[in-house]
Symmetry: C2
Subunit: 201 residues, 2 copies
Amino acid sequence: SLRRIKASGLKLQLCTNETQATRESFVRKLRALGFEVSAGEVTAPAPAACRLLRERGLRPHLLVHHDLVPEFAEVDKTNPNCVVLGDAAENFTYANLNEAFRFLIGMEKPVLISLGKGRYYKETDGLKLDVGAYMKALEYACDVQAEVVGKPAKSFFESALAELGVPAEQAIMIGDDIVNDVGGAQQCGMRALQVRTGKYR
Amino acid sequence: SLRRIKASGLKLQLCTNETQATRESFVRKLRALGFEVSAGEVTAPAPAACRLLRERGLRPHLLVHHDLVPEFAEVDKTNPNCVVLGDAAENFTYANLNEAFRFLIGMEKPVLISLGKGRYYKETDGLKLDVGAYMKALEYACDVQAEVVGKPAKSFFESALAELGVPAEQAIMIGDDIVNDVGGAQQCGMRALQVRTGKYR
């Protein structure tokens, strides 16, 4: 169906909440499955966060997955004035959480940017706490509210529209998640279509 | 002043939120400082939690500090139907947090008991996230509300009164913390007195 959309001349942008790897490796996985997409056709939380950091002159301390670090290669990370939190998985150690907390609590006005707010997810070896749980821990400790990048945040869909160069009224979001995909897109003025595949129940 | 209170014939119960060690080791520390107290004169979150577990037939999975584990020696921990969370410090690993989460999410009705709800505290090597932050993470992931044992919980002061064998009207709470000590005791029908020492500012 991706091929048919492209063949018809429609512009396409994939919106994913994947934060355990760079867009490049995400695209490699898709290509291995036979989908012809490029990194530029993917909107993901990390690049959206980079854009936000640039716009606001923020220098992050990163608590993210090892494999995601390259997405932030171009970003100035000296003398941090915000914390960017992703699904860090094995990097969610006691020491790393305390370190991120100390950066936040040491700021005059703590800025916490979270690459999602999922509660948990399933892997082959069982359920895992997702980034949202750690976001809540830091929010509580520092008495701040995190800014969430990624679906269903409005700014995330605006990012995707900017990449497409298309206004919201001329775009349609197709997804399997009623909150993250359909709800988020509608809040942004887009039409949305829910497919009954993937996580649809 | 402890000696004068005891000499006057008044009954005494120390109420602490200490959860990184057993009452026995807490008392050893106090005795080394010259205070003549016994473990029976200390009300602490872990023993209060044990009482609550017994009353409700709960079998805990423990995520607590190594040094606190002996407090739960008598408690049946097979086939857990609740999680008891304390300031586990180095035990707050990614694996241990996921394990506690899996126990909770696997319960028909998750029961999370937290030995406090502090945000953070200071140690010689810097600020550390306290049990409250991890409590919020698990609360969010499992969509439950933790039951907090320890000051300022009403049940905690009731526990202390039960140990004393004295009704609330005949007891007075003396402490340096306006919320945890004074507020908690007053909610329980006790009078309270704030001293301008310790953490008082």
